[in-house]
């Protein structure tokens, strides 16, 4: 089974898709993770991003990812 982690690169890709307001690209990235889920995937983060995307709240997704990336750097 191929593994896709919710790593920095994936989060950056989602963030870029949201900056471009490209919902189809963001959905595809979410789909990618849903199909090839890492066992330790952060369900809270995924659920939150999914909810924001459902509402087309791109800025909220970007803010959430920036916050998560900043937390990882600490």
């Amino acid at each position: 089974m191929e593994i896709v982690q919710l790593d920095r690169e994936w989060m950056k890709k989602v963030s870029i898709a949201c900056q471009e307001m490209d919902i189809l690209k963001a959905d595809a990235l979410m789909q990618e993770v849903a199909e090839k889920r890492h066992e330790e995937a952060d369900e809270d983060l995924l659920g939150q991003i999914r909810e924001y995307l459902y509402q087309y709240d791109y800025d909220d997704v970007i803010a959430l990812i920036h916050k998560r990336l900043a937390m990882e750097e600490v």
Binding site: E20, M21, D22, I23, L24, Y54, Q55, Y56, D57, Y58
Partner: protein
């Protein structure tokens, strides 16, 4: 793939448009006029679907703001409207919107109106290019004719005894 910016504050409408058009176009779906204007400041699209009734900036205000944006003013706009908005439809037509799509949306009607508007836009652009090209040719020919006449007037030979 042509791109369409869809602006509607109702998520159900955005979801509907997404499901109908996502296989045929690149879609940018936003919930507010502000977000749409923000997108248009740095991006180009081929068509805008704009809801008329929205909180904060309504469709007409967004349309008027788009008309002040040099890079966006030529993008055709189709207004999404409820049946009863006849007065607003007249206002929009006077302002120059390309077309209307009435709610509740019918997928085939939506697709056809979009296709027709995009085709018309493409033909208009081609025609403009052709007119520019032909205008340049006419200017060149005019210059050549004037030059030739000037040369003839300036001609000096023995037959005309220097006149």
């Amino acid at each position: 793939m042509k791109s369409i910016l869809v602006v509607d504050d109702a998520i159900t409408n955005l979801k509907f448009v997404e499901s109908v058009l996502k296989d045929s176009y690149k879609l940018i779906l936003v919930k507010s006029g502000e977000k749409a204007l923000q997108y248009l400041e740095t991006n180009q699209v081929d068509l805008i679907l704009l809801d008329l009734l929205m909180p904060d900036l309504d469709g007409l205000q967004v349309y008027e703001r788009i008309q002040t944006m040099e890079q966006a003013r030529k993008i055709p706009v189709i207004i999404l409207t409820a049946n009863a908005d006849v007065e607003n439809e007249i206002r929009c037509l006077k302002l120059g919107v390309a077309d209307f799509i009435r709610k509740p949306f019918v997928p085939e009607v939506m697709k056809n109106r979009i296709d027709r508007t995009l085709q018309l836009e493409e033909l208009t652009n081609k025609l403009s290019e052709k007119i520019k090209e032909k205008t340049a040719q006419v200017e060149q020919l005019t210059f050549e004719i004037i030059s030739t006449i000037a040369s003839m007037i300036e001609a000096r030979d023995s037959y005309t005894k220097g006149n």
